[in-house]
């Protein structure tokens, strides 16, 4: 097997944000635009509060000054940008109320829309990812740690959800508020705004400094967590050994060392995160005081104010000044709060981008290619010996060529498989198989024997094109397997593996996995062939017993029997058994073998087995060593040769 890469959980690659947003926008353009517009209204509504408080204050002061009734009369309440506003408190309230109403509706609309869009997008993304994953070549799964692949679904996708549903709106909202607030601040006083800008720069520095450290320790924390997880897993798996050797105390001490390390990093990472908010919040407070004093200086010392609205405080007009300073200070607070809020989202953005780039990496992996044009079909024989294609499941098959000129040619499937001088390498450098030639004639049983890593499983991986050969040819009934549609090639090969992977569902469903249109009776028949019927009947709910967590409620041997039943129901014309009975004891194996022998009568079979008794009755046994076939022949031939096989058989050598 090629070496497994364990993904480093590092930073996001460039362009991730763009790709993600593009994908999002392409799927839901209308919803996003509506949400954005509503968000603008929402923010606008929220910001109106301060402006209207200031306007109402002005209105009250003017009313007092000129003896108007602020609730009934209409009078000039304020003048900015050279305009004089005629209104009163009642009108202001009505206008504000209307703005609020729109704001609330807008808030409801965008929140709801984004919630739906997020979920639908995540669903779409999840499905696309899964679907693409299913199309990836086996090589991908062999070279990526399964834990890392799973983590895409369990962790990374969730960070994308957080990014879209929380960080993104917050980002836009903060941006909008900042622009609005900045504008209002500038229209009041450029000098005071400068104070805020300086404060903003400091805040950015703090976010960078604290945030940077925080993420550094966060990464260390994750690494320590990984170690702790590994240690827990090792201990649980080896717990029986711990018990048997009364090693409880010692292993707890060892665990505590790792646990302490994790605690250290986690505390530091956590402190950095916790401290961010008070620091940012109080920088806002300092800014507030500074701006207040700055305003007072402008006012008291008659400094020249500079503002977009042309506002100039008049010494001796406290009310006018009060309106300005109150508004400005409120704005500066709002600004600081916003930056603070945004700083809380940064971690989500960073994590979201890192997660997204890992997911996108999977989506960018090249899917398995299939350029085959020879199909597999069921046939039935006519009385004269000729055959024709049929939709029924007949146990007889033919290869169907569809030539370019539209003509169709059939070739009966016989199960003749030839490997002709095959070379293969997983990594393109080291040959795992070299010059391997095998001739399996229809109905023969071919066995592979050899040490782990000798290349037994690799051969079967090549026959069903999990991997493609580097050199040489593999022919199936004389057809180069590259020309056969992959799906059809694999359908013609029944494979039982040592690792018996079952799926959540009933026992019946798991057997039926072999052939989806099999009836209950056919499934039970297959279970009987595999000698699984007995133990299935003893399960609490028989064939309807739910298997969960990869069938962990069954023993390894029972699971192997089920996977044999699954292959039996598939009833493929050629069988590959890769250590299929390794966890079944010799007695049961004999019973199973009786069943499979009957099933495989007249069909080609490839067998890999550790236990030599399993392969004795093969038509040919190939002894593999380091990618070469070093001995071949029947059991009797090989025993006579007194070579490697003989030594293995008599127990003089051990298989390693």
């Amino acid at each position: 097997m090629p070496p497994v890469r364990i993904r480093e959980r590092g930073r996001a690659r460039k362009g991730t944000m763009k790709t993600l947003l593009k994908r999002l926008f392409k799927l839901y353009p209308a919803q996003l635009i509506v949400s954005l517009i509503c968000l603008v209204f929402n923010v606008f509504g929220n910001l109106s509060s301060s402006v209207f408080v200031s306007l109402a204050t002005n209105a009250l002061t003017q009313a007092g000054k000129d003896s108007f009734n602020p609730f009934v009369d209409v009078y000039p309440i304020s003048s900015t940008f050279g305009f004089t506003i005629y209104s009163n408190v009642s009108y202001l309230l009505i206008i504000l109320g209307s703005i609020y109403l729109v704001g609330i509706l807008a808030s409801w609309t965008w929140n709801r829309t984004m919630a739906i869009v997020t979920q639908k997008f995540m669903n779409d993304f999840r499905k696309a990812m899964f679907s693409h994953m299913e199309d990836l070549p086996i090589k991908y799964f062999d070279t990526h740690a399964h834990g890392s692949i799973m983590s895409l679904y369990t962790n990374d996708i969730d960070t994308i959800r957080q990014f879209i549903s929380q960080a993104l709106p917050s980002l836009i909202q903060t941006g909008l508020v900042s622009i609005f607030v900045f504008f209002i601040m500038l229209s009041t006083s450029v000098w005071m705004t400068l104070v805020v800008v300086v404060g903003f720069i400091i805040m950015v520095g703090v976010v960078k400094g604290l945030g940077g450290k925080s993420s550094k320790y966060f990464i260390k924390q994750q690494a320590a967590l990984g170690q702790v997880e590994g240690s827990i897993e090792e201990s649980i798996k080896g717990l029986k050994v711990i018990k048997v050797f009364t090693h409880e105390q010692k292993s707890a001490e060892e665990f505590d060392t790792l646990n302490e390390e994790l605690r250290d990093y986690a505390t530091t990472a956590n402190i950095h995160g916790n401290v961010m908010m008070p620091v940012m919040g109080n920088i806002g407070n300092f800014l507030y005081i500074l701006c207040g004093l700055m305003g007072a200086f402008i006012y008291v010392f008659g400094w020249k104010n500079l503002s977009f609205s042309g506002y100039e405080p008049i010494k001796g007009d406290p009310a006018r000044f009060a309106g300005m300073i109150a508004l400005f200070l409120m704005m500066s607070r709002m600004f600081a709060n916003n930056v603070n809020q945004f700083s809380q989202q940064i971690i989500f953005i960073v994590m979201g981008m890192a997660g997204a780039s890992r997911c996108l990496e999977l989506m960018d992996e090249k899917a398995e290619k299939d350029e085959g044009y020879v199909y597999l079909c069921n046939i039935k024989y006519n009385e004269d010996g000729s055959f024709e294609e049929t939709d029924e499941h007949t146990r007889n098959y033919a290869w169907k060529y569809r030539h370019k000129d539209g003509t169709i040619e059939y070739r009966e499937l016989k199960g003749d498989i030839v490997l002709d001088k095959v070379d293969f390498s997983y990594d393109g450098k080291r040959l795992v198989l070299e010059d391997v030639s095998i001739y399996a004639h229809p109905g023969q049983k071919i066995a592979f024997v050899g040490a782990t890593g000798a290349g037994k499983t690799t051969i079967t991986n090549l026959i069903n094109r999990f991997y493609d050969i580097a050199d040489g040819k593999i022919r199936y009934d004389g057809i180069n397997i590259n020309k056969i549609k992959k799906a059809d090639l694999r359908r013609s090969l029944g494979i039982v593996l040592q690792d018996t992977n079952l799926f959540s569902g009933t026992v019946m469903e798991n057997i039926r996995y072999g052939r989806l249109d099999a009836t209950d009776e056919e499934c039970i028949e297959a279970a009987k062939i595999a000698n699984a019927h007995d133990f299935i009947s003893r399960l609490p709910e028989g064939y309807d017993t739910m298997l969960s967590g990869d069938g962990s409620n069954l023993s390894q041997g029972q699971r192997q029997l089920l996977s044999i039943a699954r292959a039996a129901v598939a009833d493929a014309p050629v069988m590959i058994l890769d250590e299929a009975t390794s966890s079944i004891d010799t007695r049961t194996e004999r019973l199973v073998q009786k069943g499979t022998d009957q099933l495989m009568e007249g069909r080609t079979v490839f067998v890999i087995a550790h236990r030599l008794s399993t392969v004795q009755n093969s038509d040919a046994i190939m002894v593999l060593d380091h990618g070469h076939i070093i001995e071949r022949g029947t059991h009797d031939d090989l025993i006579k040769q007194k070579g490697v096989y003989y030594n293995l058989y008599t127990g003089a050598f051990e298989l390693e």
Binding site: S49, T61, L96, M150, V244, N501, D636
Partner: protein
């Protein structure tokens, strides 16, 4: 539930002081945060009174001058900053420390479990409990000590301040708070219920992904890609429909808060203006310097400065409500985790030391007197039925039987990895339940079917057998177990590295090292549970000979699939379906036991020339 929370809180231990001090800092921060808008209001009021005097340090009416207000604010900001920082630090120490303790406690608990206990939990579920679940508890705990006290305090402070600064205006919030709280509660309750059920299904979905990842060869072999895609899409769609339903409810949260803030603002501005206008009067004068008419509302129940302060308090009140609702969600989420963690903590080890125990195993006699055993109390079928076996010290015993016949169950009872359901197991004439567990297990060495070496070195693994073993002892044990060559072949000898799970050794090598490890214990009884299956027959024979010659006093019990491994045993026990089918020597059994005959002829079929 309360009991479970208490159980988990026991792990706070040395971090208790931090856990207690954190809320104090949070109270300080909250107090400052609430007082500041009030002082800020005064600050603004004073700034605008600077009109005539221009004096930052004195006021005419005895109120606090601008400069001192600024200093006060500065001081409060600093206090708030410090409180915030220390609160953050101590909260981290307390919550992370508590989580570390909890993890350590769980680990210790785990190692004290009997096999029966362990069989209840799957590996992945235990790992999840010790990582994700503890993490959830850590976050909830941190939230508790930081915000559970702070948020309600903020709420109360702010509410009080609205009365202090705004008089009757405070009643606006008295009316508003319960309405908002009720709304939030409704949202949380509805959404949480949905989420809980969705999360469970979401886990199931991930489980099916896991099956696809690890079973991809099966999927592809049977060309089931499209079938799996369809199945997945269906499940994913169904979850999404429910997610949308739940999220729609959650999406009411923001509008609700917006509405509350907006309504309170309108009421404050409207009623506030009315109050100022009705209860106060406007004082005007002509500024002598500029000739402008200036003035302010005075003498009323509310000033203009207070009006804007009220708005700030309003936002603070609603923010703290929001926070409280967030905590409630967090806690609700962590409840599942708490349940799962306490499930492990509450699990009582089923096998514990007897109060008065024997500390010496005198010989290697083993007797099974009419023993029956089942793995679970409510299991229908017994794993073992009426087992009667009598083994004399020093004997070599072989056990043979098919999968599920009960071989491993038998030997598990000897070292008391499980307790019998009926009958008794005696070691050296005493019931195993009378022995101190450590004594018993030190004298009954088991080499398990699933060989397991731990990451470290060969030496560190061998020393599991005997912590004080000398190098000589180790070499001797290796020699008996035929592992000497393996160690010698490694350049670093006994110091050679062992990877996690012993991945850098072959099956046969691991088995031999595991046997050496067991020999180092110098036990009275040694059990080999199919532990030479990957060893060639010649080495297998040498190991047996070594055990026989070098450790003649030791009782040897060997479970094997290969007849050759046990054919020279003093007694061979044939197990079938939980019963003893026959006991005898090789010759006897070969003559009259059909199971033995069947196995023998299977293994020696065709040119078997032994």
């Amino acid at each position: 539930m309360l009991k479970k929370i208490k159980l988990i809180l026991k792990s706070v231990r040395e971090y208790k002081k931090y856990a207690l001090i954190t809320p104090l800092f949070m109270i300080g921060e909250a107090a400052m945060e609430c007082a500041m808008p009030f002082i800020m209001g005064l600050f603004v009021d004073e700034i605008k009174l600077l009109n005539n005097s221009g004096d930052f340090f004195h006021t005419s009416d005895g109120s606090i001058p601008v400069f001192y207000l600024a200093l006060m604010l500065l001081g409060m900001a600093i206090i708030s900053l410090l409180c915030g920082i220390f609160g953050g630090i101590y909260a981290s120490k307390a919550s992370v420390g508590m989580a570390a303790n909890l993890r350590s406690d769980l680990y210790k608990k785990l190692t004290n479990f009997s096999f029966e206990n362990i069989d209840k939990f799957s590996t992945s579920s235990l790992v999840t409990r010790m990582t994700t679940d503890i993490n959830n508890v850590q976050m909830a705990f941190q939230m508790m000590i930081r915000i559970v006290i702070r948020a309600p305090l903020m709420l109360i402070f702010s509410a009080v301040m609205t009365f202090v600064g705004g008089g009757m205006m405070g009643f606006i919030f008295v009316g508003l708070i319960p309405i908002v709280a009720f709304g939030l509660l409704l949202i949380i309750r509805h959404a949480m219920k949905l989420f809980m059920s969705i999360f469970k299904r979401y886990d199931k979905l991930n489980e099916s992904i896991q099956e696809n990842v690890s079973g991809i060869r099966v999927v592809k072999s049977y060309v089931r890609e499209d079938f799996e895609k369809e199945k997945f899409a269906k499940a994913s769609d169904a979850i999404t429909t429910d997610f949308v339903k739940a999220e729609k409810i959650v999406a009411l949260n923001n509008p609700l808060m917006n509405t509350a803030i907006h309504v309170s603002n309108i009421l404050i501005i409207g009623l506030g203006s009315l109050l100022i206008y009705k209860s106060g009067h406007f004082e005007t004068k002509i500024d002598p310097a500029t000739g402008h008419i200036v003035g302010d509302w005075v003498g009323g129940q509310l000033t203009l400065g207070q009006l804007s302060a009220l708005i700030t308090y309003g936002i603070q009140i609603l923010m703290s409500l929001m926070m409280i609702s967030m905590i409630m969600v967090m806690i609700a989420m962590s409840i599942e985790s708490i349940k799962r963690i306490s499930e492990v903590l509450e699990e009582e080890p089923t096998i514990v030391n007897p109060p008065v125990s024997l500390n010496n195993v005198v010989n290697g006699d083993v007797d099974f007197n009419n023993v029956s055993f089942k793995y679970k109390k409510n299991a229908e079928r017994n794993a073992l039925n009426n087992i009667d076996i009598h083994i004399k010290s020093g004997q070599f015993i072989g056990i043979l039987g098919s999968t599920g016949s009960g071989k491993t169950s038998v030997i598990n009872l000897i070292s008391r990895l499980y307790d019998v359901s009926e009958g008794e197991v005696l070691v050296a004439g005493h019931n195993v339940k009378e022995y101190d567990l450590e004594t018993l297990r030190d004298n009954v060495a088991v080499v398990l079917q699933k060989n397991f070496l731990f990451s470290g070195t060969i030496e560190s693994n061998l020393k599991w057998g005997n912590l004080n073993a000398s190098e000589e002892d180790m070499w001797k044990a290796c020699r008996i177990a035929q592992a000497e060559e393996i160690v010698k072949a490694k350049p670093e000898g006994l110091q050679s590295k062992v990877e996690q799970g012993g991945a850098n050794f072959s099956g046969g090598q691991k088995q031999r090292l595991c046997i050496a490890r067991a020999i180092l214990k110098n036990p009275k009884i040694m059990i080999l549970d199919d532990s030479t299956s990957a060893v060639d027959t010649k080495t297998d024979r040498l190991i047996r000979r070594g055990l026989k010659n070098d450790l003649p006093e030791m009782t040897k019990i060997v479970i094997a699939q290969r007849i050759s491994s046990i054919e020279d045993a003093d007694q061979i026990i044939i197990l079938d379906n939980g019963h003893v089918d026959a006991i005898g020597t090789h010759e006897e059994l070969l003559k009259n036991n059909h199971i033995y005959q069947e196995v023998y002829y299977t293994q020696n079929r065709v040119g078997g020339d032994k």
